[in-house]
Symmetry: D2
Subunit: 280 residues, 4 copies
Amino acid sequence: MHTAQIDALLEYEVRGPTHFLFNLEAALHEAHQLVQERLTITPSVNVRHFCDARNGNRFFRLDASKGLLSVNYHAQLQLQVAPLPLQLDETPVSALPDEVLRYLLSSRYCESDTLSRASQQLFGQLPPGLARVRAIEGWIHDSIAYLPGFSNASTTAQDVFVQRAGVCRDFAHLGITLCRALNIPARLVVGYVYFDEPPQDFHALFEAWLDGRWVLFDPTRMAPVDRLVRVGTGRDAKDVAFATMFGDVQMLRKELVVEQGDLPPDPAGAQPPALTQVTA
Amino acid sequence: MHTAQIDALLEYEVRGPTHFLFNLEAALHEAHQLVQERLTITPSVNVRHFCDARNGNRFFRLDASKGLLSVNYHAQLQLQVAPLPLQLDETPVSALPDEVLRYLLSSRYCESDTLSRASQQLFGQLPPGLARVRAIEGWIHDSIAYLPGFSNASTTAQDVFVQRAGVCRDFAHLGITLCRALNIPARLVVGYVYFDEPPQDFHALFEAWLDGRWVLFDPTRMAPVDRLVRVGTGRDAKDVAFATMFGDVQMLRKELVVEQGDLPPDPAGAQPPALTQVTA
Amino acid sequence: MHTAQIDALLEYEVRGPTHFLFNLEAALHEAHQLVQERLTITPSVNVRHFCDARNGNRFFRLDASKGLLSVNYHAQLQLQVAPLPLQLDETPVSALPDEVLRYLLSSRYCESDTLSRASQQLFGQLPPGLARVRAIEGWIHDSIAYLPGFSNASTTAQDVFVQRAGVCRDFAHLGITLCRALNIPARLVVGYVYFDEPPQDFHALFEAWLDGRWVLFDPTRMAPVDRLVRVGTGRDAKDVAFATMFGDVQMLRKELVVEQGDLPPDPAGAQPPALTQVTA
Amino acid sequence: MHTAQIDALLEYEVRGPTHFLFNLEAALHEAHQLVQERLTITPSVNVRHFCDARNGNRFFRLDASKGLLSVNYHAQLQLQVAPLPLQLDETPVSALPDEVLRYLLSSRYCESDTLSRASQQLFGQLPPGLARVRAIEGWIHDSIAYLPGFSNASTTAQDVFVQRAGVCRDFAHLGITLCRALNIPARLVVGYVYFDEPPQDFHALFEAWLDGRWVLFDPTRMAPVDRLVRVGTGRDAKDVAFATMFGDVQMLRKELVVEQGDLPPDPAGAQPPALTQVTA
């Protein structure tokens, strides 16, 4: 059993009335259990929370007026990741659950339609199953250079396939796209994980549907996938931006501290979470 | 009160085992009431139905083997469209319902991010509200030529904005995109409606969120929006394809018959629907 | 020594006053010698000829008024292609002739800038020289499906790299692009060549600069490159369209007959060409 | 009569053997006369000069090895710009000189094919001639925001038309594209001109063919076009990069000083230029 402690600090210069939508909090997800959580927003504003029942993403919204806005999210969690079998089959489309079908579709950043033949050509001959998605993950790792500055907010999987460079979300978008083109449902996952090499930042990975479950893959290999504290799950990065601003705003600061450790199994069971929200 | 009678026939040559996902049936939606409905599939196969609770889209799935597949959907409906007020305000983002926020995001066919400045430039100075979305609808009608052959399955709103030509779904995608760029939630609607000029075909429109409700717009002006029999509602055309095939298939035939009429108000209330499904 | 006989017929419905620019005639080029040539244009119009001194492309221009326009080009040629050495080095950029440098640049259809890393990744480790360009030619042949309908007049090398399908000029554009990305000058060549499989059509290939000369490559492998009757040479297809029309025109007919044979070496030397132009 | 004095300093960290191609020197062009010129390259290397006869662009090439490379170009010129008539007609395509036709074609950065309908829609109804190109110049000035950071080395006119932001070369590319789409030949011009607002930098404009001559337009309105010291003329920016490097290089410094003044007409005629090249 692992533990994780998150401390995320965002600071904005708000230049005019602005509505903020944040997706910063640990998701409702079976892979982790919240021990403690605290959200501190300065100055004090009304905060509305909602959760997307479909995937457990937790959002909060607020209105800020001119001035500084600071958002601090702190959380302690226990991670309980079930071990992955060595072998997993792909599920024939015909047997996919209805609600999983949507993850076969092209989306804003993942043009599985135009990349269909390329994916078939590269991976179509491999035996289906976990090993094939591992092959995609490995091919991206080997073929795409991790280079900040090559991509921006409108860079798509097709761009990344051409330019052969990007950052973690570009890697994930390409993985999703190559899977969907093979009729393997796939989607984006973002969250917190400790990186050996600084700076700490939000991380993006993808997961693919294999044998009746979602399985995480990280083509960047920047951190073990079972250490991830999941924040958002969606078709692609459009669904899970950590912050969306409607107004004239400048981000001044983004600081993440992620600490992770290992726990001996707790004989008495996990502690009940103690959740706190502070708006100071 | 209007009536509509739909007869849709699709025929496919199936060249190998294929999974089909159809979105052909009238949606669960307050704007119409089903009087009668019949789905006939030849040859006889198992059909699984499901409905997307979020927007009332009804899907059915089936597995077909080598040979001909014919799908015939027949429906009679009564349309009860509430009259539209002459004036409707835009809703500030801050006051948008949580579940409506998603319709502000860029999607596969609707790049409201890259077209943001263009939309602001063209429509940003107009007073917000129904009249502004009407201005968008009118601008598309005047600026985009209705020309089959200019667009294909990967044509996006940005392409249409550049090439100034397209078909109904291109018009709708551009309308959605220009709205979202102004922070007006917007989404695609597809369905059946009678065209004065043949051939009959599936139609695509868009709707925008104004004053707490979704309002339909049709930049093609091919038919009155209150005659539409809604089939699908989604972020863009990826969500509401009338047929998605996983296998080697050739469409042989697509024939739609749409008949529409007017009814005197029924004093005794609408008849209960009599739904029939036949797999012959 | 080979012989070639060309008969090209183009027919247009001209709907309003139109200026035509044609690039149909055999180029001025060392690889062939004109034996006979005849250009017949119906109805009779003034024809202005010019030749681009840089690459030997021959153009003719004419003004047509409403009605039918028919252009028939007939030519007999002898082809004298010097055998290619088995080994050819790449020329370091530093040693490239000034006038060859332009063929390193990105162009409308050949985005060697965005595909730079991809080409380096695929071919950067191969030993430089003829064998490396052969590897590019072979990779395109194996990776890109020859499929009419996937590309149109605005399809670029980047599109082809993504969609993995196209026709001869798409193959050639991709070859040019992958070469330029490795600092190997490359350009498009179009012309006539006999195809075993009908229909006959204009062909597009590419040539790369190796060891002080231009060397032809054909990733489609549809015909031997030494049988080509060269018509145009340029950065990409924009430079060498067989017909460019300024006006309202519909092409009614395009028929090519290409016959090719072998000649015993002529002891008395090649016959002087007898050129004829008829405007009937 | 105006005078101009240019001082351009470029410094590079060369990390491995690199070939440089520079287009920095005042072009051979009737609009200016060189009074004095000096090119200083440190360390001393062989420099090869060539001039593109087609448009008077002067290039120089050199090989640099590991270490610092500094290039300093100094020039004094007299500018003699003939006044522009108030009215100029467009030339029908049929009457365009053969060598001007190429400037009607789409190029890497100027997709006049895909933007054809948009340009026709915006400017097709205006009376042809100088005033129409002025309308294009004015529309770009009013519609496109001058915003560094929105565009990069692969941004094209189509991107600029969509995103409505860019820098001088983006403005020029869009002007070229909109002209070509109306069958007005147009091309890119780069050079030196004094900006009232720092920093000084290379400038990009476009020129269009009207009434038998090339006429300069500057949609940025950053400086009077008759003050320009022309360096390069080409289809688009690919043809006239001020520096192209083949090797591993980092630019350390780019400093331009441009001084401009007015001279009384010289009764005795312009002085003969005294050209100097120093490689120190």
